[in-house]
């Protein structure tokens, strides 16, 4: 899939798009169908959306972004807060001249998508969250463990809470292989930004339709947390994905893609 950089004063934001490659200074063509912009979760990166990019390329214009310091975007430090990340996303949407987009966010990326919808509604048609809770419950020991990795006391942890009950080895390898591309200190700052997020208090300000998805076996975002998010929004639909964990878009891509597609069709209707 073609990749590009959007350069700002001091950053180069890396993104993956579909369709024909364009010259370096020209944004890709985003006119076909709906423009879908995928936002990764804590310590994640754009290629984790490969199944969605491939699926939506047929009739839509999907784009997946690496936030600063994630994946192959430049920068040493990740955004310090959900709002800071949302500002980068808003700038990105403007930079690629995106039409009003459907933002699809995973975990922390879900809060970022909602914050963009609240702050810059003109850039957003709808929001999809995957494995995102109204109030994230990130246990202290998860933060402590990651902090030890950052301090060099522990090696990178290749553990399984991301996945449902019968994880597929290929999916686990793909996620871990992608996550080691981002400095663990950036994943830690994402986690802390997500934990400190005040987005839940401002959900009333989100005046766009939202689809809330959560894996039924998500060990990092309890179903109740996602349901609370859907309830607090003025225009939300909720769906639980059977046999999926926290990375439902990797584990049960067909089901997730189908749900998103129906939501996009509803928005167009």
């Amino acid at each position: 899939m073609p990749t590009k950089y959007l350069r700002t004063d001091d950053l180069a934001l890396h993104y993956v798009h579909t369709g024909p490659t364009t010259l370096p200074d020209r944004p890709p063509d985003l006119a076909r169908g709906a423009c879908l912009v995928f936002l990764h979760g804590e310590g994640g990166s754009a290629p984790l959306w490969s199944r969605q990019l491939a699926y939506f390329a047929a009739a839509h214009s999907p784009v997946a972004l690496d936030l600063p310091a994630h994946g192959r975007s430049s920068g040493l430090d990740g955004p310090a807060s959900v709002e800071a990340a949302a500002e980068h996303v808003g700038g990105f949407l403007a930079g690629i001249s995106a039409p009003p987009a459907v933002l699809v966010g995973h975990g922390f990326g879900g809060h970022v998508a909602l914050a963009v919808a609240a702050a810059q509604p003109a850039r957003v048609r709808g929001v999809v969250t995957i494995g995102t809770a109204a109030r994230p419950t990130i246990p202290n020991d998860a933060v402590d463990k990651l902090r030890q990795v950052v301090q060099g006391r522990l090696g990178q942890q290749f553990d399984t809470p991301y996945f449902g009950n019968a994880p597929d080895m290929a999916v686990m390898r793909e996620l871990w292989g992608e996550m080691v591309k981002t400095d663990p200190k950036v994943r830690l700052s994402d986690m802390l930004a997500y934990r400190a997020s005040r987005v839940a208090e401002r959900l009333g300000g989100v005046a766009r339709p939202v689809l809330v998805l959560v894996g039924e076996a998500d060990k990092l975002c309890a179903r109740a947390g996602a349901e609370e998010l859907a309830k607090a929004l003025s225009d939300a639909r909720f769906a639980a994905i059977p046999d999926a964990g926290h990375v439902a878009h990797l584990e049960k891509a067909d089901e997730v893609n189908g749900r998103i597609e129906r939501f996009v069709a509803e928005l167009a209707a």
Binding site: A12, G71, G75, L76, Q151, R153, L154, G155
Partner: protein
């Protein structure tokens, strides 16, 4: 190489990025070249000598193509990370010999975004006699670990003393907005970090970053007409050490020879040196280099680096930019030693400025300390 006061560094630029997955190594080198020439108040058309390293056997020719240069003098010295330190001296010698007038030296690397396992990958030493060791899996960090192990065995040097070096570099990095890691650490943090090759912990090892830089070298006479205060080359020395068929003392390193020559040629004393830029691939590299340069006796390095002596405000501040341990290490760090020394001698180092810095010593180490390595020493003076 008695170049005293005849040769000057008139342009220096350090690329600000430490993580540049959107750029190639050539782009970083070219952007650095532009920065150094602007700093000097010169243009690419003034360059008639060019040097680079770390670009493969004839990569210097590709770099000439990339920069659209057809210089009268070309060099791609390959003695490891110290190459760029040596190249300042070699450029000076070429200028003095009349081979060229203005030399541009560049470096660019994307080691971090290429995920290059510099210290732990091994596999560089395939020439004899190292080819006999290679099947047993030697690594760079293993070679440096061996020197540290020997130092501890001979002199009772402690991990706490080595850690003090890493802590000091991090403190300096906290004053450098471009450094890769800026959050202060303690001796306990270093000791609690993972063991990589005993006795070297993770935080005893340099970072891996992207990055690059460039220098412009010309005659002292020409430097007088340029915009910035020149930095003069006072003396230089280049040396090496190898296995010597197994008979060598691994604590006797190339710095002993290159340092002695540089001091003799510069005509300065150790007490004249206001700051040092010492190649810090690992904490032991700094300790061993300070000893072999003669700042303290062999075996006394551990005590020497304690109690703040090598920190900003101390008796002999070392690596004010945060060094390879915290600021940047794209694989060959030598050029950054010279760039920071130039900033310090010009008084441009901001919050990490050593007060009234007049004389700076740079020492680069290249290759595998304890197995085969090079040392290049440069003593610079404010113009």
């Amino acid at each position: 190489m008695s170049l005293r006061n005849e040769i000057a560094i008139v342009g220096a630029y350090e690329h600000p990025r430490r993580w540049a997955p959107d750029k190639t190594a050539y782009q970083i080198a070219a952007e650095s070249a532009r920065g150094a020439l602007e700093d000097a108040g010169l243009t690419i058309h003034d360059v008639d000598g060019y040097a680079t390293s770390g670009v493969g056997p004839i990569g210097v020719l590709s770099m000439c193509h990339h920069l659209n240069l057809r210089p009268d003098w070309i060099d791609s010295t390959a003695i490891g990370g110290s190459s760029f330190v040596a190249q300042v001296a070699y450029a000076g010698a070429a200028i003095r010999a009349g081979l060229c007038r203005t030399v541009l030296i560049t470096y660019g690397s994307t080691a971090a975004s290429e995920r290059f396992a510099i210290g732990t990958g091994g596999g560089f030493s395939t020439d004899p006699p190292d080819s006999f060791d290679v099947p047993y899996g030697p690594t760079i960090v293993g070679a440096y670990g061996m020197v540290a192990q020997r130092h501890m065995h001979e002199y009772g040097t402690t991990s706490e003393q080595l850690a003090e070096i890493a802590v000091t570099m991090r403190r300096h990095a906290s004053l450098n907005p471009h450094a890769k890691y800026r959050e202060p650490i303690t001796v306990e943090d270093v000791l609690a970090s993972r063991m990589i090759s005993s006795p070297l912990h993770l935080l005893d090892c340099c970072v891996i970053s992207d990055g690059g830089g460039a220098l412009v070298v010309t005659s002292a006479e020409r430097a007088r007409d340029l915009q910035k205060r020149p930095v003069h080359v006072l003396g230089a020395g280049v040396a090496n050490r190898h296995n010597g068929i197994g008979q060598r003392d691994i604590l006797d390193i190339a710095a002993r020879q290159s340092g002695a020559k540089a001091f003799e040629r510069a005509g300065v004393k150790h007490s004249d040196v206001d700051l040092c830029m010492i190649y810090d691939s690992f904490t032991i590299t700094v300790l061993s280099t300070l000893e072999n340069l003669g700042f303290c006796k062999l075996g006394e390095g551990g005590a020497f680096v304690e109690s703040g002596r090598i920190g900003l405000g101390g008796e002999l501040p070392v690596n004010l930019d945060g060094g390879g341990l915290s600021s940047s290490h794209p694989g060959m760090r030598g050029i950054f030693l010279v760039i920071e020394a130039v900033r310090q001698l010009r008084g441009e180092a901001g919050p990490r400025q050593v007060e009234d810095a007049q004389v700076a010593l740079c020492h680069g180490t290249g290759g595998w300390l304890g197995i085969k390595h090079s040392g290049a020493t440069l003593i610079l003076g404010a113009g």
